[in-house]
């Protein structure tokens, strides 16, 4: 029995991402759905609030360059050994995106607060960073459990994304998704209202049937839709399954220095020039 969670195409999958949605995406090495990123650009998504868990790279830079992003909450945007993220950098300079700079454990804590249905989560450290003064949604209180007066502590509001969007090795026909030790993907799915996943393959086994596979599986309970997309993380690396397409990413870095060059990259690699069906 194939669940109605299994959809036919990545374009159908991203129909679940409305304009202005808050979308949580994982960092480059955890399972980025570049297939869904391309589909979002093809359907000209607008006004997205990206939450990078806890950083992003090529995915954020592409979405920013394509005009899909209004706000980005992140601990960093970087192409790693390929260098700075050109469209992110340009958008910051131009002031065309709202920045919610954060620090990695603060983003994890905000998602865990949503996962637990609590309005906020405390976090040690961070005080004294200029991040705190620029985040008017963060609060500092005196630790109510302190033995002596004072002891300020940072409180982070829950981050409850509309959508968690990522790529995983496999899902079964019920919509259970195996994510192995990339546990932040499970936190994202628990925290988000909807979870959309591309996978390398859809398998016949029930991933919850044994404790061995269940240990690394997000139950379908949290999964809204799954689409098969082989090599769906390319040109990024995907775990140990395949390496980054270094030539393509280097070409991106070269072209995306300008908005024109960025458009050429999109046309060449993402089918941005083709007529596509808008999702909604």
């Amino acid at each position: 029995m194939t669940s109605n969670r299994i959809v036919d195409s990545v374009d159908a999958l991203v129909a679940g991402v409305r304009d202005r949605a808050m979308v949580a995406v994982p960092r480059d090495t955890s399972g980025v759905s570049m297939a869904a990123t391309a589909a979002l650009i093809r359907r000209r998504a607008r006004g997205l609030h990206l939450v990078c868990v806890p950083t992003s790279g090529l995915q954020a830079d592409l979405l920013i360059g394509a005009g899909c992003v209004a706000t980005i909450e992140t601990s960093a945007v970087t192409l790693g050994e390929f260098g700075l993220a050109p469209r992110f950098t340009a958008a910051v300079k131009a002031g065309t995106i709202e920045l919610k700079d954060a620090t990695c454990p603060a983003i994890h804590a905000g998602l865990q607060a949503a996962q637990k249905g609590i309005p906020f989560m405390p976090l040690r450290g961070v005080l004294g960073s200029d991040l705190v003064s620029h985040r008017d949604d963060w609060k500092v209180i005196d630790n109510p459990f302190a033995e002596t007066a004072g002891d300020p502590i940072l409180l982070l509001p829950a981050i409850r994304p509309d959508v968690a969007l990522f790529h995983a090795p496999r899902a079964d026909r019920h919509g259970n998704v195996w994510i192995g030790r990339q546990r932040e993907l499970m936190t994202m799915a628990h925290a988000a209202r909807e979870t959309l996943v591309t996978v390398e393959a859809i398998v016949d086994d029930d991933l919850l049937a044994s404790d061995e596979t269940a240990a690394g599986t997000i139950p379908s309970l949290y999964v809204s839709a799954v689409a098969e997309a082989e090599f769906g993380a390319r040109p990024l690396a995907f775990w140990d399954a395949y390496p980054a397409e270094a030539v393509q990413i280097s070409e991106y870095v070269r072209l995306a220095r300008s908005q024109d060059g960025f458009a050429r990259y999109v046309a060449r690699y993402l089918g941005g020039g083709e007529a596509t069906t808008a999702a909604e």
Binding site: A76, T89, V92, D101, Q112, Q182, T187
Partner: protein
Amino acid sequence: MDCSREELLIATIARLLEGCRHVAVGELSPIPGAAAFLARQRDDRVTVLGRLKNNMFTNGGVELFDCAAQGRIDAFFIGGGQIDGEANINLIGTGDYPRTEVRWPGCFGTAFLYAMVPRVILFRQEHSRRVLVPRVDFISAPGTSAPGVYRRGGPYALITNMALFAFDTARRRFRLESVHPGASLEAVLDNTGFDFDRPDEVAQTPAPDAETLSLMRGPVAREIARTYPRFAASLFPDAAEDAKRLTGHLPG
């Protein structure tokens, strides 16, 4: 015995790790990574944590931070677009936030880890007045905290291509410990944008001995080649070739 600048840095950082049990390294930190592997060669109770292949973490991206918060991580490395004389670091950019003239990637986990890991080693190869500034434009993570603010970690040392500094938290100042072979006190003074303490006689950073060099060029090089293949290719070409043959992977 001749050694490269990178080998000097690796050996010097490994000395700074003496007595540490759990050392965490970032993905893009090959020299500190090599230093941590060298420390482990010398003491097999040392564990190297972080975003390595076959890493020890099984609880997702939050685990490094939780682990540090639990007090299980003894040392960590932070770079910095700007570092000032009070050990504040800036990973955001130059100019007025948010529309900074130059924008760097962002703060990563530094604002947290700087406060939680006892021995944070600031590592930046470039030693210039552009990097080592009187006052950072944006404090990604502060070098010190106000009294009463919970903190159990912070800056321990700063190492660059020219010199090694120790940080004195009580005085909120760096102290020059040694100048690397090939550099001079004058060059350090000329290229450092902040004021720092120094002894009357400044020592030279000792070069690694033959045994250390052979550890670095042997087992450490092979471990580095697995995690940082591009770096290894330039520093330890033989080990990198071996690793490439074994994994068939480009870096990712």
